[in-house]
Symmetry: C4
Subunit: 125 residues, 4 copies
Protein backbone atom coordinates (compact mmCIF):
# COMPACT_ATOMS: atom_id res chain seq x y z
CA UNK A 1 0.00 0.00 0.00
CA UNK A 2 3.06 2.19 -0.53
CA UNK A 3 3.64 4.57 -3.39
CA UNK A 4 0.01 5.52 -4.07
CA UNK A 5 -0.65 8.60 -6.19
CA UNK A 6 1.64 11.04 -7.96
CA UNK A 7 4.39 13.47 -6.97
CA UNK A 8 3.06 16.50 -8.84
CA UNK A 9 -0.45 17.97 -8.74
CA UNK A 10 -2.02 21.16 -10.05
CA UNK A 11 -5.19 23.20 -9.47
CA UNK A 12 -5.81 26.19 -11.71
CA UNK A 13 -8.94 27.81 -10.26
CA UNK A 14 -8.76 28.96 -6.65
CA UNK A 15 -9.91 31.97 -4.68
CA UNK A 16 -10.16 32.55 -0.94
CA UNK A 17 -13.50 34.27 -0.32
CA UNK A 18 -13.46 37.38 1.85
CA UNK A 19 -16.93 37.31 3.36
CA UNK A 20 -17.81 34.73 6.00
CA UNK A 21 -21.04 34.16 7.87
CA UNK A 22 -20.24 31.23 10.15
CA UNK A 23 -18.50 30.59 13.44
CA UNK A 24 -14.72 30.43 13.77
CA UNK A 25 -12.94 28.36 12.64
CA UNK A 26 -15.12 25.69 11.08
CA UNK A 27 -17.39 27.92 9.03
CA UNK A 28 -14.92 30.56 7.94
CA UNK A 29 -14.66 30.58 4.15
CA UNK A 30 -11.54 28.78 3.03
CA UNK A 31 -9.71 26.87 0.33
CA UNK A 32 -8.05 23.64 1.44
CA UNK A 33 -5.93 20.87 0.04
CA UNK A 34 -6.07 17.40 1.56
CA UNK A 35 -2.85 15.42 1.11
CA UNK A 36 -2.82 11.66 1.73
CA UNK A 37 0.57 10.04 2.35
CA UNK A 38 0.27 6.23 2.41
CA UNK A 39 4.04 5.71 2.54
CA UNK A 40 6.18 4.71 5.53
CA UNK A 41 8.21 7.93 5.39
CA UNK A 42 7.45 11.67 5.61
CA UNK A 43 6.28 13.39 2.43
CA UNK A 44 8.05 16.72 1.90
CA UNK A 45 5.77 19.16 0.12
CA UNK A 46 6.33 22.46 -1.66
CA UNK A 47 3.37 24.60 -2.80
CA UNK A 48 3.84 27.08 -5.66
CA UNK A 49 1.09 29.71 -5.86
CA UNK A 50 0.53 31.53 -9.19
CA UNK A 51 -1.39 34.79 -9.60
CA UNK A 52 -2.92 36.74 -12.48
CA UNK A 53 -0.66 39.76 -12.18
CA UNK A 54 2.32 38.92 -9.97
CA UNK A 55 5.24 36.48 -9.81
CA UNK A 56 4.64 33.07 -8.24
CA UNK A 57 5.36 32.47 -4.54
CA UNK A 58 6.65 29.24 -3.01
CA UNK A 59 5.70 27.83 0.40
CA UNK A 60 8.24 25.26 1.63
CA UNK A 61 8.96 22.82 4.43
CA UNK A 62 5.49 21.33 4.63
CA UNK A 63 5.56 17.73 5.90
CA UNK A 64 2.96 14.99 5.90
CA UNK A 65 3.69 12.19 8.36
CA UNK A 66 3.81 8.53 7.25
CA UNK A 67 0.37 6.93 6.75
CA UNK A 68 -1.43 10.14 7.62
CA UNK A 69 -3.73 12.72 6.02
CA UNK A 70 -2.87 16.41 6.26
CA UNK A 71 -5.30 19.23 5.49
CA UNK A 72 -3.73 22.57 4.61
CA UNK A 73 -5.82 25.74 4.66
CA UNK A 74 -4.48 28.31 2.19
CA UNK A 75 -5.50 31.05 4.64
CA UNK A 76 -2.80 29.68 6.94
CA UNK A 77 0.06 29.98 4.45
CA UNK A 78 1.87 33.08 5.71
CA UNK A 79 5.61 32.47 5.15
CA UNK A 80 7.24 34.08 3.13
CA UNK A 81 4.04 36.11 2.61
CA UNK A 82 0.34 35.76 3.46
CA UNK A 83 -2.16 34.67 0.81
CA UNK A 84 -4.46 37.56 -0.06
CA UNK A 85 -8.25 37.21 0.14
CA UNK A 86 -10.56 37.70 -2.85
CA UNK A 87 -7.78 37.07 -5.30
CA UNK A 88 -7.66 34.38 -7.97
CA UNK A 89 -4.75 31.97 -7.81
CA UNK A 90 -3.57 28.61 -9.12
CA UNK A 91 -1.27 26.20 -7.38
CA UNK A 92 1.23 23.55 -8.32
CA UNK A 93 2.07 21.11 -5.53
CA UNK A 94 5.23 19.04 -5.58
CA UNK A 95 6.03 16.12 -3.26
CA UNK A 96 9.24 14.07 -2.97
CA UNK A 97 7.16 10.84 -2.89
CA UNK A 98 3.76 9.81 -4.29
CA UNK A 99 0.70 11.32 -2.56
CA UNK A 100 -3.00 11.86 -3.39
CA UNK A 101 -4.27 15.46 -3.42
CA UNK A 102 -7.82 16.75 -3.37
CA UNK A 103 -8.92 20.37 -3.32
CA UNK A 104 -12.02 21.76 -1.59
CA UNK A 105 -13.62 25.13 -0.92
CA UNK A 106 -16.17 26.26 1.62
CA UNK A 107 -17.74 29.61 0.76
CA UNK A 108 -19.83 30.84 3.70
CA UNK A 109 -20.10 34.40 2.41
CA UNK A 110 -23.09 33.59 0.24
CA UNK A 111 -26.39 32.36 1.60
CA UNK A 112 -25.94 28.70 0.77
CA UNK A 113 -22.49 28.00 2.27
CA UNK A 114 -21.39 26.42 -1.00
CA UNK A 115 -19.13 23.41 -0.60
CA UNK A 116 -17.11 22.26 -3.60
CA UNK A 117 -14.48 19.58 -4.00
CA UNK A 118 -12.49 18.14 -6.88
CA UNK A 119 -9.45 15.93 -7.31
CA UNK A 120 -6.38 17.93 -8.31
CA UNK A 121 -4.86 17.26 -11.75
CA UNK A 122 -2.22 14.51 -11.47
CA UNK A 123 0.71 15.76 -13.55
CA UNK A 124 2.62 13.07 -15.45
CA UNK A 125 6.35 13.45 -14.91
CA UNK B 1 -18.15 -5.10 -21.04
CA UNK B 2 -15.95 -6.89 -18.48
CA UNK B 3 -12.92 -5.45 -16.77
CA UNK B 4 -14.04 -1.80 -16.72
CA UNK B 5 -12.18 0.56 -14.38
CA UNK B 6 -9.24 0.10 -12.04
CA UNK B 7 -8.45 -2.03 -8.98
CA UNK B 8 -7.16 0.78 -6.77
CA UNK B 9 -8.82 4.11 -5.98
CA UNK B 10 -8.11 6.91 -3.52
CA UNK B 11 -9.94 9.89 -2.02
CA UNK B 12 -8.00 12.25 0.22
CA UNK B 13 -10.60 14.69 1.51
CA UNK B 14 -13.47 13.20 3.51
CA UNK B 15 -15.39 14.09 6.63
CA UNK B 16 -18.67 12.74 8.00
CA UNK B 17 -20.68 15.77 9.19
CA UNK B 18 -22.19 15.58 12.67
CA UNK B 19 -25.21 17.82 12.30
CA UNK B 20 -28.22 16.67 10.31
CA UNK B 21 -31.51 18.41 9.60
CA UNK B 22 -33.41 15.90 7.48
CA UNK B 23 -35.44 12.75 7.95
CA UNK B 24 -33.87 9.34 8.58
CA UNK B 25 -32.23 7.77 6.67
CA UNK B 26 -32.29 9.64 3.39
CA UNK B 27 -31.38 13.08 4.62
CA UNK B 28 -28.91 12.19 7.33
CA UNK B 29 -25.53 13.70 6.50
CA UNK B 30 -23.22 11.08 5.07
CA UNK B 31 -20.21 10.25 2.94
CA UNK B 32 -20.70 7.47 0.43
CA UNK B 33 -18.76 5.56 -2.17
CA UNK B 34 -20.54 4.04 -5.15
CA UNK B 35 -18.78 0.97 -6.55
CA UNK B 36 -19.72 -0.34 -10.00
CA UNK B 37 -18.76 -3.95 -10.77
CA UNK B 38 -19.40 -4.75 -14.46
CA UNK B 39 -17.70 -8.16 -14.25
CA UNK B 40 -19.33 -11.60 -14.10
CA UNK B 41 -17.82 -12.38 -10.69
CA UNK B 42 -17.96 -10.84 -7.21
CA UNK B 43 -15.61 -7.92 -6.53
CA UNK B 44 -13.90 -8.28 -3.15
CA UNK B 45 -13.20 -4.88 -1.64
CA UNK B 46 -11.02 -3.63 1.21
CA UNK B 47 -11.26 -0.04 2.43
CA UNK B 48 -8.29 1.55 4.22
CA UNK B 49 -9.18 4.68 6.18
CA UNK B 50 -6.40 7.16 7.05
CA UNK B 51 -6.61 9.86 9.73
CA UNK B 52 -4.68 13.01 10.64
CA UNK B 53 -3.48 11.76 14.01
CA UNK B 54 -3.98 8.00 14.26
CA UNK B 55 -2.96 4.78 12.50
CA UNK B 56 -5.00 3.66 9.50
CA UNK B 57 -7.87 1.19 9.92
CA UNK B 58 -8.91 -1.45 7.41
CA UNK B 59 -12.48 -2.58 6.67
CA UNK B 60 -12.58 -6.00 4.98
CA UNK B 61 -14.91 -8.53 3.44
CA UNK B 62 -16.98 -6.09 1.42
CA UNK B 63 -18.44 -7.71 -1.70
CA UNK B 64 -20.05 -6.24 -4.79
CA UNK B 65 -22.13 -8.75 -6.77
CA UNK B 66 -21.55 -9.33 -10.50
CA UNK B 67 -23.01 -6.63 -12.76
CA UNK B 68 -24.28 -4.62 -9.83
CA UNK B 69 -23.75 -1.24 -8.15
CA UNK B 70 -23.10 -1.09 -4.41
CA UNK B 71 -23.32 2.11 -2.34
CA UNK B 72 -21.41 2.08 0.92
CA UNK B 73 -22.12 4.69 3.59
CA UNK B 74 -19.04 5.37 5.70
CA UNK B 75 -21.34 5.88 8.71
CA UNK B 76 -22.12 2.16 8.44
CA UNK B 77 -18.51 0.94 8.66
CA UNK B 78 -18.36 -0.32 12.26
CA UNK B 79 -16.10 -3.41 12.20
CA UNK B 80 -13.36 -3.44 13.56
CA UNK B 81 -14.26 0.07 14.80
CA UNK B 82 -16.88 2.73 14.00
CA UNK B 83 -15.96 5.76 11.89
CA UNK B 84 -16.01 8.90 14.03
CA UNK B 85 -18.11 11.92 13.05
CA UNK B 86 -16.64 15.37 12.39
CA UNK B 87 -13.21 13.96 11.75
CA UNK B 88 -11.18 14.34 8.58
CA UNK B 89 -10.14 11.14 6.83
CA UNK B 90 -8.81 9.82 3.53
CA UNK B 91 -9.45 6.42 2.05
CA UNK B 92 -7.71 4.00 -0.24
CA UNK B 93 -9.97 1.37 -1.76
CA UNK B 94 -8.59 -1.85 -3.17
CA UNK B 95 -10.51 -4.37 -5.29
CA UNK B 96 -9.42 -7.79 -6.59
CA UNK B 97 -10.88 -6.94 -10.03
CA UNK B 98 -11.49 -3.70 -11.97
CA UNK B 99 -14.32 -1.49 -10.68
CA UNK B 100 -15.40 2.18 -11.03
CA UNK B 101 -15.58 4.25 -7.83
CA UNK B 102 -17.23 7.61 -7.23
CA UNK B 103 -17.43 9.50 -3.97
CA UNK B 104 -20.28 11.72 -2.81
CA UNK B 105 -21.26 13.68 0.28
CA UNK B 106 -24.61 14.97 1.51
CA UNK B 107 -24.26 17.60 4.24
CA UNK B 108 -27.69 18.35 5.72
CA UNK B 109 -26.31 20.12 8.78
CA UNK B 110 -26.02 23.43 6.97
CA UNK B 111 -28.95 25.29 5.51
CA UNK B 112 -28.44 24.28 1.91
CA UNK B 113 -28.10 20.48 2.20
CA UNK B 114 -24.93 20.62 0.13
CA UNK B 115 -24.49 17.73 -2.27
CA UNK B 116 -21.04 17.07 -3.69
CA UNK B 117 -19.68 14.30 -5.88
CA UNK B 118 -16.37 13.54 -7.59
CA UNK B 119 -14.76 10.54 -9.25
CA UNK B 120 -12.14 8.93 -6.99
CA UNK B 121 -8.50 9.02 -8.16
CA UNK B 122 -7.73 5.92 -10.25
CA UNK B 123 -4.36 4.70 -8.99
CA UNK B 124 -2.08 3.21 -11.64
CA UNK B 125 -0.59 -0.05 -10.43
CA UNK C 1 -9.65 18.43 -34.08
CA UNK C 2 -10.93 14.92 -34.78
CA UNK C 3 -10.73 11.95 -32.45
CA UNK C 4 -10.93 13.86 -29.14
CA UNK C 5 -11.76 11.88 -26.02
CA UNK C 6 -12.37 8.19 -25.39
CA UNK C 7 -14.84 5.56 -26.57
CA UNK C 8 -15.80 4.21 -23.14
CA UNK C 9 -16.92 6.18 -20.09
CA UNK C 10 -18.37 5.21 -16.71
CA UNK C 11 -20.22 6.89 -13.85
CA UNK C 12 -20.92 4.87 -10.72
CA UNK C 13 -23.06 7.15 -8.57
CA UNK C 14 -26.36 8.30 -10.05
CA UNK C 15 -29.90 8.74 -8.80
CA UNK C 16 -32.87 10.53 -10.37
CA UNK C 17 -34.54 12.52 -7.56
CA UNK C 18 -38.32 12.16 -7.21
CA UNK C 19 -39.24 15.51 -5.69
CA UNK C 20 -39.13 18.67 -7.78
CA UNK C 21 -39.94 22.25 -6.87
CA UNK C 22 -39.33 24.15 -10.09
CA UNK C 23 -41.12 24.83 -13.36
CA UNK C 24 -41.32 22.29 -16.20
CA UNK C 25 -39.04 21.35 -17.85
CA UNK C 26 -35.99 23.35 -16.87
CA UNK C 27 -36.20 22.96 -13.12
CA UNK C 28 -37.42 19.39 -12.91
CA UNK C 29 -34.85 17.31 -11.03
CA UNK C 30 -32.78 15.28 -13.45
CA UNK C 31 -29.55 13.46 -14.20
CA UNK C 32 -27.95 14.27 -17.54
CA UNK C 33 -24.96 13.28 -19.62
CA UNK C 34 -23.45 15.73 -22.08
CA UNK C 35 -21.72 14.04 -25.03
CA UNK C 36 -19.37 16.05 -27.26
CA UNK C 37 -18.63 14.61 -30.70
CA UNK C 38 -15.86 16.59 -32.44
CA UNK C 39 -15.60 14.12 -35.34
CA UNK C 40 -16.90 14.49 -38.89
CA UNK C 41 -19.20 11.47 -38.57
CA UNK C 42 -22.08 10.43 -36.31
CA UNK C 43 -21.18 8.93 -32.95
CA UNK C 44 -23.29 5.84 -32.19
CA UNK C 45 -23.86 5.52 -28.47
CA UNK C 46 -25.08 2.69 -26.23
CA UNK C 47 -25.85 3.32 -22.54
CA UNK C 48 -25.75 0.40 -20.08
CA UNK C 49 -27.52 1.12 -16.78
CA UNK C 50 -26.61 -0.96 -13.70
CA UNK C 51 -28.71 -1.26 -10.54
CA UNK C 52 -28.17 -2.46 -6.98
CA UNK C 53 -30.62 -5.35 -7.16
CA UNK C 54 -31.50 -6.05 -10.79
CA UNK C 55 -29.85 -6.99 -14.09
CA UNK C 56 -28.41 -4.20 -16.23
CA UNK C 57 -30.48 -2.61 -19.01
CA UNK C 58 -29.14 -1.31 -22.32
CA UNK C 59 -30.40 1.73 -24.21
CA UNK C 60 -29.38 1.66 -27.89
CA UNK C 61 -29.50 3.67 -31.10
CA UNK C 62 -28.51 6.99 -29.59
CA UNK C 63 -26.72 9.21 -32.13
CA UNK C 64 -24.69 12.36 -31.75
CA UNK C 65 -24.30 14.35 -34.97
CA UNK C 66 -20.86 15.38 -36.29
CA UNK C 67 -19.32 18.39 -34.48
CA UNK C 68 -22.26 18.67 -32.13
CA UNK C 69 -23.05 18.38 -28.41
CA UNK C 70 -25.94 16.18 -27.28
CA UNK C 71 -27.47 16.29 -23.80
CA UNK C 72 -29.34 13.18 -22.71
CA UNK C 73 -31.68 13.30 -19.72
CA UNK C 74 -31.90 9.90 -18.03
CA UNK C 75 -35.58 10.63 -17.25
CA UNK C 76 -36.15 10.43 -21.02
CA UNK C 77 -34.69 6.93 -21.49
CA UNK C 78 -37.85 4.82 -21.83
CA UNK C 79 -37.04 2.09 -24.37
CA UNK C 80 -36.87 -0.87 -23.60
CA UNK C 81 -37.98 0.28 -20.12
CA UNK C 82 -38.28 3.61 -18.24
CA UNK C 83 -35.68 4.60 -15.67
CA UNK C 84 -37.18 4.50 -12.18
CA UNK C 85 -37.03 7.54 -9.90
CA UNK C 86 -35.35 7.52 -6.48
CA UNK C 87 -33.25 4.53 -7.37
CA UNK C 88 -29.46 4.34 -7.36
CA UNK C 89 -27.82 3.40 -10.64
CA UNK C 90 -24.47 3.42 -12.43
CA UNK C 91 -23.89 3.70 -16.12
CA UNK C 92 -21.33 2.60 -18.65
CA UNK C 93 -21.44 4.49 -21.94
CA UNK C 94 -19.90 3.09 -25.11
CA UNK C 95 -19.32 5.00 -28.35
CA UNK C 96 -18.04 3.74 -31.71
CA UNK C 97 -15.71 6.76 -31.96
CA UNK C 98 -13.98 9.04 -29.43
CA UNK C 99 -16.22 11.45 -27.52
CA UNK C 100 -16.04 13.52 -24.29
CA UNK C 101 -18.65 12.79 -21.60
CA UNK C 102 -19.61 14.83 -18.55
CA UNK C 103 -22.30 14.02 -16.02
CA UNK C 104 -24.46 16.53 -14.15
CA UNK C 105 -27.38 16.50 -11.73
CA UNK C 106 -29.95 19.12 -10.79
CA UNK C 107 -31.82 18.31 -7.59
CA UNK C 108 -34.72 20.74 -7.14
CA UNK C 109 -36.47 18.65 -4.48
CA UNK C 110 -34.38 20.10 -1.69
CA UNK C 111 -34.36 23.76 -0.76
CA UNK C 112 -31.11 24.68 -2.45
CA UNK C 113 -31.62 23.27 -5.97
CA UNK C 114 -28.26 21.52 -5.75
CA UNK C 115 -26.32 21.47 -8.99
CA UNK C 116 -23.45 19.01 -9.36
CA UNK C 117 -21.22 18.11 -12.27
CA UNK C 118 -18.21 15.86 -12.81
CA UNK C 119 -16.31 14.43 -15.76
CA UNK C 120 -17.14 10.75 -16.30
CA UNK C 121 -14.33 8.23 -15.82
CA UNK C 122 -12.52 7.67 -19.15
CA UNK C 123 -12.06 3.90 -19.38
CA UNK C 124 -8.82 2.75 -21.00
CA UNK C 125 -9.50 0.03 -23.56
CA UNK D 1 8.49 23.53 -13.05
CA UNK D 2 8.08 24.00 -16.81
CA UNK D 3 5.82 21.98 -19.05
CA UNK D 4 3.10 21.16 -16.50
CA UNK D 5 -0.24 19.91 -17.83
CA UNK D 6 -1.50 19.13 -21.33
CA UNK D 7 -2.00 21.04 -24.57
CA UNK D 8 -5.60 19.93 -25.23
CA UNK D 9 -8.55 20.03 -22.85
CA UNK D 10 -12.29 19.47 -23.26
CA UNK D 11 -15.48 20.20 -21.31
CA UNK D 12 -18.74 18.82 -22.64
CA UNK D 13 -21.40 20.27 -20.35
CA UNK D 14 -21.64 24.04 -20.19
CA UNK D 15 -24.40 26.61 -20.12
CA UNK D 16 -24.35 30.31 -19.30
CA UNK D 17 -27.37 31.01 -17.07
CA UNK D 18 -29.58 33.95 -18.00
CA UNK D 19 -30.99 34.93 -14.64
CA UNK D 20 -28.77 36.66 -12.10
CA UNK D 21 -29.53 37.94 -8.61
CA UNK D 22 -26.24 39.40 -7.43
CA UNK D 23 -24.24 42.57 -7.90
CA UNK D 24 -22.17 43.29 -11.01
CA UNK D 25 -19.72 41.87 -11.87
CA UNK D 26 -18.83 39.41 -9.14
CA UNK D 27 -22.20 37.76 -8.67
CA UNK D 28 -23.41 37.74 -12.25
CA UNK D 29 -23.99 34.15 -13.35
CA UNK D 30 -21.11 32.94 -15.47
CA UNK D 31 -19.06 30.06 -16.80
CA UNK D 32 -15.31 30.43 -16.53
CA UNK D 33 -12.15 28.58 -17.42
CA UNK D 34 -8.99 29.08 -15.37
CA UNK D 35 -5.79 28.50 -17.36
CA UNK D 36 -2.47 28.06 -15.52
CA UNK D 37 0.68 28.59 -17.57
CA UNK D 38 3.79 27.58 -15.57
CA UNK D 39 6.12 27.99 -18.54
CA UNK D 40 8.57 30.82 -19.25
CA UNK D 41 6.82 31.79 -22.50
CA UNK D 42 3.33 32.93 -23.49
CA UNK D 43 0.70 30.23 -23.99
CA UNK D 44 -1.35 30.83 -27.15
CA UNK D 45 -4.86 29.54 -26.69
CA UNK D 46 -7.72 28.80 -29.08
CA UNK D 47 -11.20 27.94 -27.77
CA UNK D 48 -13.60 25.94 -29.97
CA UNK D 49 -17.23 26.15 -28.83
CA UNK D 50 -19.66 23.41 -29.93
CA UNK D 51 -23.47 23.66 -29.87
CA UNK D 52 -26.41 21.26 -30.09
CA UNK D 53 -27.77 22.62 -33.35
CA UNK D 54 -25.19 24.84 -35.03
CA UNK D 55 -21.63 24.70 -36.39
CA UNK D 56 -18.76 25.20 -33.95
CA UNK D 57 -17.21 28.65 -33.46
CA UNK D 58 -13.56 29.38 -32.75
CA UNK D 59 -12.21 32.14 -30.49
CA UNK D 60 -8.54 32.91 -31.24
CA UNK D 61 -5.62 35.02 -30.10
CA UNK D 62 -6.04 34.40 -26.38
CA UNK D 63 -2.72 34.64 -24.54
CA UNK D 64 -1.68 33.60 -21.06
CA UNK D 65 1.52 35.27 -19.86
CA UNK D 66 4.48 33.24 -18.54
CA UNK D 67 4.04 31.93 -14.97
CA UNK D 68 0.59 33.43 -14.68
CA UNK D 69 -3.04 32.34 -14.24
CA UNK D 70 -5.70 33.67 -16.61
CA UNK D 71 -9.45 33.42 -15.96
CA UNK D 72 -11.66 33.67 -19.02
CA UNK D 73 -15.38 34.34 -18.65
CA UNK D 74 -17.34 32.81 -21.53
CA UNK D 75 -19.75 35.78 -21.33
CA UNK D 76 -16.82 37.93 -22.50
CA UNK D 77 -16.09 35.95 -25.69
CA UNK D 78 -17.59 38.20 -28.35
CA UNK D 79 -15.33 37.93 -31.39
CA UNK D 80 -16.24 36.64 -34.04
CA UNK D 81 -19.65 36.30 -32.32
CA UNK D 82 -21.04 36.62 -28.76
CA UNK D 83 -21.84 33.48 -26.74
CA UNK D 84 -25.59 33.17 -26.27
CA UNK D 85 -27.13 32.83 -22.80
CA UNK D 86 -29.25 29.85 -21.74
CA UNK D 87 -27.77 27.66 -24.41
CA UNK D 88 -25.93 24.40 -23.91
CA UNK D 89 -22.41 24.23 -25.28
CA UNK D 90 -19.21 22.20 -25.07
CA UNK D 91 -15.70 23.47 -25.55
CA UNK D 92 -12.38 22.16 -26.73
CA UNK D 93 -9.39 24.25 -25.71
CA UNK D 94 -6.08 24.00 -27.50
CA UNK D 95 -2.78 25.49 -26.33
CA UNK D 96 0.61 25.59 -28.09
CA UNK D 97 2.33 24.55 -24.83
CA UNK D 98 1.28 22.55 -21.75
CA UNK D 99 -1.21 24.27 -19.40
CA UNK D 100 -3.67 23.21 -16.65
CA UNK D 101 -7.36 24.00 -17.20
CA UNK D 102 -10.21 23.98 -14.71
CA UNK D 103 -13.82 24.90 -15.38
CA UNK D 104 -16.23 26.55 -12.95
CA UNK D 105 -19.75 27.92 -12.93
CA UNK D 106 -21.54 30.37 -10.67
CA UNK D 107 -25.32 30.28 -11.06
CA UNK D 108 -26.88 33.18 -9.14
CA UNK D 109 -30.26 32.87 -10.84
CA UNK D 110 -31.46 30.23 -8.42
CA UNK D 111 -31.81 30.80 -4.71
CA UNK D 112 -28.63 29.07 -3.61
CA UNK D 113 -26.04 30.72 -5.91
CA UNK D 114 -24.75 27.31 -6.90
CA UNK D 115 -21.00 27.14 -7.36
CA UNK D 116 -19.54 24.20 -9.27
CA UNK D 117 -16.04 23.38 -10.41
CA UNK D 118 -14.34 20.46 -12.13
CA UNK D 119 -11.02 19.80 -13.86
CA UNK D 120 -11.40 19.75 -17.64
CA UNK D 121 -10.70 16.45 -19.45
CA UNK D 122 -7.02 16.26 -20.39
CA UNK D 123 -6.99 14.97 -23.96
CA UNK D 124 -4.11 12.65 -24.84
CA UNK D 125 -2.52 13.67 -28.10
Amino acid sequence: MENIGKKDWAISSSRIPFHSNGEEPEFVSHDKVAILNTNNQDAEIEIFVFYEDESPVSFKEIKVEPQRLKKIRFNDLIDPTAMKLERNYSCFIQSNINVVIQFSRLNTGIAENAEMSTMAFPVDT
